[in-house]
């Protein structure tokens, strides 16, 4: 395109922006919002992952391989470490013991609650100074002269600050029954600012927290020239059962996988925001094309080619998209900065809580999001641009915008039967997509089905309009009603555009309300089953204090029943998060009463070990009841039988329950971390007081089931707060689309309305006609939107949630909420059409009739 054509294009773009400031600015803002949300999610997550990776490197160093047990209760024998160290391909092996301890002041009191959060135990790492220097230099203590590891522990600066202690202070370290008084003998200068760490000599830790002949991990450096993957492969067959050799990168990959489905879900929400932006560009550009059809026709007559008329509207779309996307990048960056300052690196899914990431923009992703914003804007301008290209010039110059453009390049107006066939095919395709399994463990086909349902709704609008208004037109109507109905029938494009906005926005709103309502009800019912006891005690990541457990066994303890649970972690796949192992004090026969099974409970022979797996574990590892499952338990592979599948909304990556008796029979050590307590009848208050007295100073979580329920539901509601905000934004955009297109429709019919006015329609009748038209269009949009919304709600509930998060639930449609929402939207639509009605009656009829255009 020549420079001269560019100049003309620029004049027209500038004129368009100056004359339609509000609509253009809103469309630009909507694009910016979509880009900002997506970009912020990307920045926060990338920063959190980088932070996590840095933290891993700080604690773990950069080994070529990590030798560890698949079951966190198991250990790596020192003999094996020594054997591997003798391999000529191995440069060095750094044995490590990792455990968690509670830190008390030497006086015996737990650190002040304000200084260190109770229930948040500190990581204690035992290492061999010489091998650690080669593999994990970040964990080396400060060498202030004398022996590096004197008899004591080294603390990270962050931990010292939290504890308000200085080097030399005395502390007591407690883990279960093991308790040791010691001294902080130095700092860890290379520890990261947020790390809460204690480091000690491996022999010191082994001697106090055991076991003496094994370690948690062996971190290896290989000789130069050795390929880590091949070396790991060569050893994996020779390792004892229950042990694994993994790449250090697997840890980062695993953490990335943890949040992937959640991130994709958030990105889909951002995409929805971007799509609403594209719709606003569409509505803005369509009305702009309609209102300027005479001007474009004139330019066409003067020699502006059809291609240039198409390009002009695309340029205008791009002129909205480019600043919108640029603004979106800036907003997204600011949003990410603000978010990480306030909330850290966790996006709400709880996957990165505690991280303190540094937001850093990089070129390629920024360009990608910028391009996405521009593409959304261009997509919105595409159909208006095509309409502008095919407008018949002579007719448009004389009578304005043609809502039914003539056939172009062999494309004919589609007959009703073709439309019906297209709708049926779309419905079948959507149904087919819902039957497909997850792709790359993401519900991509489900998202595709949702998009098809929305397309289906929009495609069905003309047919529904024809059927409904065809029937309407045959009835006896008042003059304003007749005008409204005739206009919808005669000017279908504007009516369909207005209805489409409402179809999409109301469908998304209904679907989210339906999904959230179904989910909330399911969680509510699930909490009933999983919280049968009135009181709960929990110690995060550590065994409960022996004193408390011993006191609970005394007859004086005011409890009728106590159920103990221990937690463990089993690594079934190095690239997946570990499965939670719940060792629960329960009888096999009571399983059905104690777990919320979602399917049949299989009877298992008494000589076999039975386990009950969660739905997430069933789906992630493709397991079934009755199947034999080999689990890495207590340092060996144990064949178990799956006795049933239970519903679990709290552990997204799977959980497996084993009866404590079975676990003990396998040789396990039952380190209780959770208690479910049933106070004796009439002694509820005394039981709480007893518990408060006996648990004081241990930093335990004590809660009544009603508190846990309220907290769980409150967290649930908060996690969907963003969704509600997006729903509200979608509805506002839908209503804005209705108002804009109605206004454009009225503008296009100014002369017709003026003629009606001259023929005897007064201002009130014209207002009623336009508002009735708005109500009819809103009614059609809401009706189709409701149907699509329920379908999408079902897809979200039955396809997306199970595939993305492994949460299954029944579909519950909150009819009262949905119908109330529809009624409110209809009322808002009628109010929005008043804006168009005012436009219709603002100009004196005589002036409109006398005007040339």
């Amino acid at each position: 395109m020549s420079r001269l054509r560019w100049q003309l294009a620029w004049w027209l773009i500038r004129a368009q922006f100056l004359t339609r400031r509000t609509a253009t600015a809103l469309a630009m803002l909507a694009i910016a919002l979509g880009v900002a949300l997506g970009y912020a999610i990307h920045l926060i997550n990338a920063a959190a992952l980088a932070d996590f990776s840095q933290a891993m490197k700080s604690v773990q160093g950069e080994p070529d391989a990590v030798l560890a047990a698949k079951d966190n209760a198991a250990r790596v024998p020192l003999a094996l470490i020594n054997e591997i160290a003798r391999d000529p391909a191995v440069a060095i092996v750094a044995p490590v013991i990792e455990t968690r301890v509670r830190v008390d002041h030497a006086a015996g009191h737990t650190a002040d609650q304000a200084a260190i959060h109770p229930g948040a135990p500190v990581k204690l790492i035992g290492l061999d100074i010489f091998s650690a220097a080669a593999v994990m230099p970040g964990l080396l203590p400060r060498q202030d002269g004398g022996s590096i590891f004197e008899d004591g522990v080294h603390a990270s600066p962050a931990l010292l600050a939290r504890l308000q202690l200085k080097v030399g202070a005395g502390v007591t370290l407690t883990r279960g029954a093991a308790r040791w008084r010691t001294r902080i003998v130095g700092e860890l200068p290379a520890a990261r600012p947020g790390d809460l760490l204690l480091v000690a000599d491996i022999a010191w830790v082994q001697a106090r927290f055991g076991p003496p002949d094994a370690v948690s991990e062996g971190r290896l450096r290989l000789m130069p020239g050795t390929r880590p993957a091949s070396w790991r492969e060569s050893w994996s067959g020779r390792l004892p059962a229950g042990l694994t050799l993994r790449a250090a990168a697997d840890d980062t990959q695993r953490v990335s996988n943890i949040s992937r489905a959640y991130r994709v879900n958030l990105n889909v929400l951002a995409l929805v925001a971007l799509l609403t932006g594209a719709f606003l560009v569409f509505a803005t550009q369509l009305t702009a094309v309609a209102q300027r059809s005479t001007q474009f026709a004139l330019l066409g007559v003067l020699g502006l080619s059809p291609r240039m008329r198409l390009l002009q509207v695309l340029f205008e779309g791009l002129a909205i998209g480019v600043p919108g996307a640029a603004l979106g990048l800036a907003l997204g960056y600011g949003l990410a900065l603000a978010f990480t300052r306030v909330m850290g690196g966790d996006l709400g899914g709880g996957f990165f809580s505690g991280s303190t990431p540094v937001i850093a923009a990089s070129l390629l992703p920024s360009l990608g999001f910028f391009a996405l914003g521009c593409a959304a804007s261009l997509a919105g301008a595409l159909y208006p641009a095509w309409l502008n290209r095919v407008q018949p010039l002579a007719q448009a110059l004389k009578t304005g915008f043609a809502q039914r453009p003539p056939a172009v390049h062999g494309l004919r107006q589609r007959p009703r039967r073709t439309l019906l066939i297209a709708i049926v095919l779309l419905a079948l395709a959507a149904l087919g997509l819902t039957r497909l399994p997850a792709l790359y463990e993401l519900p991509l086909a489900g998202y595709g089905a949702i998009a098809l349902v929305l397309v289906l709704g929009i495609a069905a609008a003309p047919l529904v309009t024809q059927i409904v208004f065809g029937a309407f037109a045959r009835r006896a109507l008042s003059a304003p009603q007749r005008v409204a109905v005739q206009n919808i029938v005669q000017a279908p494009l504007m009516a369909q555009v207005a209805a489409s906005g409402l179809i999409v926005s109301f469908a998304l709103t209904v679907s989210m309300v339906t999904m959230v309502s179904s989910f909330r009800l399911a969680v509510d019912q699930w909490l009933d089953t999983v919280l049968p006891a009135p009181l709960y005690v929990r110690s995060k990541g550590m065994p409960l204090p022996q004193e408390l457990l011993a006191a609970l066994d005394q007859p004086a303890a005011p409890f009728a029943r106590i159920e103990r649970t221990a937690h463990g972690a089993l690594s079934l796949d190095p690239q997946r998060p570990a499965v939670v192992l719940l060792v629960r004090e329960m009888r096999r026969a009571d399983a059905a009463a104690r777990l919320p099974f979602s399917g049949p409970v299989v009877a298992v022979a008494a000589d076999r070990v039975v386990v009950w797996i969660s739905e997430a574990m069933q789906e992630l590892y493709r397991l079934a009841p009755g199947q034999t499952l080999r689990l890495p338990l207590l340092g060996r592979e144990v064949d178990t039988v799956i006795g049933g599948v239970w519903r679990d909304y709290s552990r997204q990556f799977g959980a497996v329950v084993i009866a404590a008796a079975d676990y003990l029979a396998l040789g396990g050590h039952f380190e209780v971390s959770d208690l479910a307590l049933w106070p004796r009848r009439g002694e509820e208050a005394a039981a709480k007081a007893w518990l408060a007295a006996h648990a004081a100073g241990y930093g335990l979580d004590i809660a009544e089931s009603s508190e846990i329920r309220a907290l769980s539901l409150s967290i649930f509601d908060k996690s969907f707060a963003v969704t509600y905000a997006l729903e509200a934004a979608a509805m506002l955009i839908g209503l804005f689309g209705l108002a804009v297109t109605l206004a454009a429709s009225v503008w296009l019919r100014a002369r017709e309305l003026a003629t009606l006015s001259a023929l005897g329609f007064d201002r009130a009748m014209l207002t009623r006609a336009v508002m009735f038209e708005g109500a009819l269009i809103a009614g059609i949009g809401l009706g189709i939107g409701l149907a699509c919304g329920i379908a999408i709600g079902a897809i979200l509930t039955h396809v997306v949630n199970p595939q993305a998060f492994h949460w299954r639930m029944e579909l519950t449609i909150p009819w009262l909420q949905v119908l109330l929402g529809a009624a409110l939207t209809l009322a808002a639509g009628v109010i929005a059409s008043r804006f168009a009605a005012r436009l219709a009656t603002r100009l004196p009829a005589a002036q409109v009739l006398a005007s040339a255009q």
């Binding site: 003309l8 004129a15 100056l18 004359t19 330019l299 007559v301 003067l302 020699g303 059809p306 040339a852």
Partner: protein, 220 residues
């Protein structure tokens, strides 16, 4: 220069042709009035000449190159209009969001006239249509007569071979109409262009070099 031969046009589903085997020519520097009753096909003929409606048969040769607009595709027709045809409409059709100078510059931009020439041409034409000093004015602030002068300037600025005018004075009062018509004829003759003016006004027709009357049976 305009040469029409064997031109036929029938609207889809119409019982009879709008015109059939039409033939006439307008020489360079000649101004021809096209008159006829309403509905006889004057506007359709004008649209066919401008390439805005397809003709069924025949040839319409335009400009010094004698390009047949009937044989051209849509883009080439647009290019031919940009280079060789100037338009004046009854409804003025001046773009309200561009200044007077920008409106007049549109054909210059579309026909690729060197940017260095634009200002001089626009200012000269504005002076010749009596609108000197109006370059930066916005159309909504102009009267009907002034708008039609802007349209005349726009029709002539790129020095087209053919001017097509559809009721150019139809929306003006008699005195302004007279002034505008005089201006149009004078400028067309000055540019040595051909002009075809569709009009219902005998007064306008009488002032042209030749009158063609379109009837259902053809040209008279």
């Amino acid at each position: 220069m305009l040469t029409i031969s064997h031109l036929s046009k029938r609207h889809p589903n119409a019982a009879r042709a709008v015109f059939d085997e039409l033939a006439f020519a307008v020489a360079a520097g000649e101004i021809v009035a096209l008159v006829g009753e309403s509905g006889v096909g004057k506007s359709t003929l004008l649209n066919c000449i401008a390439g805005l409606e397809p003709a069924d048969r025949g040839a319409i040769l335009i400009g010094r190159e004698a390009q047949d607009i009937v044989r051209l595709d849509e883009s080439a027709r647009a290019a031919l209009r940009a280079a060789s045809i100037g338009f004046v409409f009854q409804a003025f059709h001046v773009l309200p969001t561009l200044t007077v100078a920008q409106n007049i510059a549109v054909p210059l931009l579309l026909s690729g006239v060197a940017p260095g020439e634009h200002q001089a041409r626009i200012e000269a034409l504005l002076a010749r249509v009596g609108l000197a000093g109006f370059a930066q004015r916005w159309p909504p602030s102009l009267s009907g007569g002034e708008l039609q002068r802007v349209a005349i300037a726009r029709a002539l600025v790129h020095r087209p071979a053919l001017i097509l005018a559809d009721e150019p004075t139809g929306n003006l009062d008699p005195r302004t109409a007279d002034e505008v018509l005089a201006l149009l004829l004078e400028r067309v003759r000055e540019e040595h262009a051909s002009a075809l003016i569709v009009t219902h006004s005998q007064h306008v027709a009488q002032r042209c070099d030749r009158i063609l009357t379109l009837t259902p049976e053809g040209l008279a």
